[in-house]
């Protein structure tokens, strides 16, 4: 059986044997109170539609392949969250819009129709999110699902990787409406903490957002940008980066500079690429994260 074919039951079995599932024991118990019912969603990130180059000679087929893999899940997610860099950047505003239109056409093939998007710097940093908003709507927003309060942040429309005062004020006002026990999931493109500042893997004012979130007891952050799985905690807040759908980046600090990315391996095409299935876990304090590789 392909890993992408695993259904919910298999998924929970794997949770018990420490397979591909990351049971977020190190994480805050974010989902838990939620639901009381099985619930899961999928995170897809860094699809970079429009990229062409040696790090992924299959760039034109990778996103459709990922769509097919999500469609093949035995139990479909309740929604799919794209955490930025939907398209690869271009200086040409017409080409940017062409890439966004093509991206939208491809993800329309997903069986799940509830799709949500936030931008990455490749989508939004050259035009302050103008094209992104035309195609995908707001760049930051909240929604509630299965008892969880989701907060989607934009830390890329400012090319200096700032959330900015206006959005931080908006975040503070939103949080003021929440109980301190409310399960909260934050979605962002870039890490909100200083993951590896030498490579600019950070958000300039991410600490201000974390300060606002810190009083809330059940907060988990899912993000992209670094093209690899990564887990970290700041205080009681867990941060989980997902693999990309274009090419893997080197582990932080593993080479002198942030480029080149990990080379394409013809013997193992699509290695290091995938998406993530996120569910309320088998126990109230064990949200479960399943990494689903494309390879």
């Amino acid at each position: 059986m392909m890993k992408s074919d695993l259904d919910r039951r298999d998924f929970l079995k794997l949770a018990g044997c420490g397979g591909v599932v990351f049971a977020a024991g190190l994480a805050s118990p974010a989902y838990l109170a939620a639901a009381g019912r099985d619930f899961h969603f999928v995170q897809m990130t860094d699809t970079h539609w429009g990229f062409a180059g040696a790090p992924n000679p299959e760039a034109r087929t990778t996103l459709p392949r990922a769509v097919a893999a999500v469609n093949a899940l035995g139990r479909q997610p309740e929604f799919i969250m794209f955490t930025g860099d939907l398209t690869h950047t271009t200086d040409d505003p017409k080409e940017r819009r062409r890439r966004m239109a093509e991206f939208k056409d491809i993800v329309k093939e997903l069986r799940v129709k509830e799709l949500r998007f936030i931008p990455g710097e490749h989508d939004a940093s050259l035009d302050a999110g103008e094209a992104f908003k035309e195609f995908f709507g707001r760049t930051y927003y909240t929604f509630d699902h299965a008892g969880i309060h989701f907060i989607a942040l934009d830390n890329v429309s400012d090319p200096g990787a700032k959330i900015g005062r206006a959005q931080l004020d908006w975040l503070a006002a939103d949080l003021a409406q929440q109980s301190k026990d409310q399960p909260i999931i934050v979605l962002a493109h870039r890490p909100l903490f200083d993951l590896y500042p030498d490579w600019d893997w950070a958000t300039a004012d991410g600490a201000a957002a974390l300060d606002l979130l810190m009083p809330y007891r059940h907060v988990t952050v899912f993000y992209g940008h670094i093209h690899q799985e990564h887990h970290h905690t700041t205080g009681h807040i867990a941060h989980h980066a997902a693999t990309s759908l274009i090419f893997p980046q080197p582990a932080p600090g593993s080479q002198p500079k942030r480029t080149p990315p990990v080379a394409w391996n013809p013997a193992a095409p699509f290695k290091g690429l995938g998406f993530r299935d996120i569910a309320n876990g088998p126990a109230p304090d064990q949200p479960a994260i399943r990494e689903v590789p494309l390879a």
């Binding site: 690869h88 950047t89 050259l126 090319p159 200096g160 030498d198 600019d200 500079k257």
Partner: protein, 120 residues
């Protein structure tokens, strides 16, 4: 008639003024290192400095706004077209330190970086 305190103050002021006008014995001006930024490179991209010897980095952008970020030496600045940003730097440790653009500037932004090598 001036009191003793007033006389002391006048002497102190005169001494200070004379000191300010004395040209000799001032520390030498730090060397200036000019760095220009454009998509997607810095020129020069490699700079060699001596530990403990102060310099001033003069940063200018040619085409658009860029950034200059070097966390290891505590430097972060916007680099603006037609403006010169002066950044004093006295490296206090030897090593090779990467600086990189942190203002997203297009396809190639991730390649825009350089190194400062600090020698003993």
């Amino acid at each position: 008639m001036l009191g003793r305190q007033a006389i002391a103050a006048v002497v102190a002021l005169a001494t200070a003024a004379a000191g300010a006008l004395t040209p000799a014995r001032a520390a030498p001006e730090p060397a200036v290192i000019r760095i220009s930024a454009k998509k997607f490179e810095y020129t020069p991209a490699k700079i060699v400095l001596k530990k403990g010897v102060p310099v001033v980095l003069e940063l200018t952008a040619i085409d658009r706004i860029h950034g200059f970020k070097m966390p290891a030496l505590g430097i972060r600045s916007d680099v603006l077209p037609d403006q010169t940003v002066r950044v004093p730097l006295t490296p206090d440790k030897p090593g090779t330190f990467v600086f990189a653009c942190d203002v997203f500037c297009g396809d190639g932004h991730e390649d825009m970086d350089g190194t400062i090598v600090v020698e003993e």
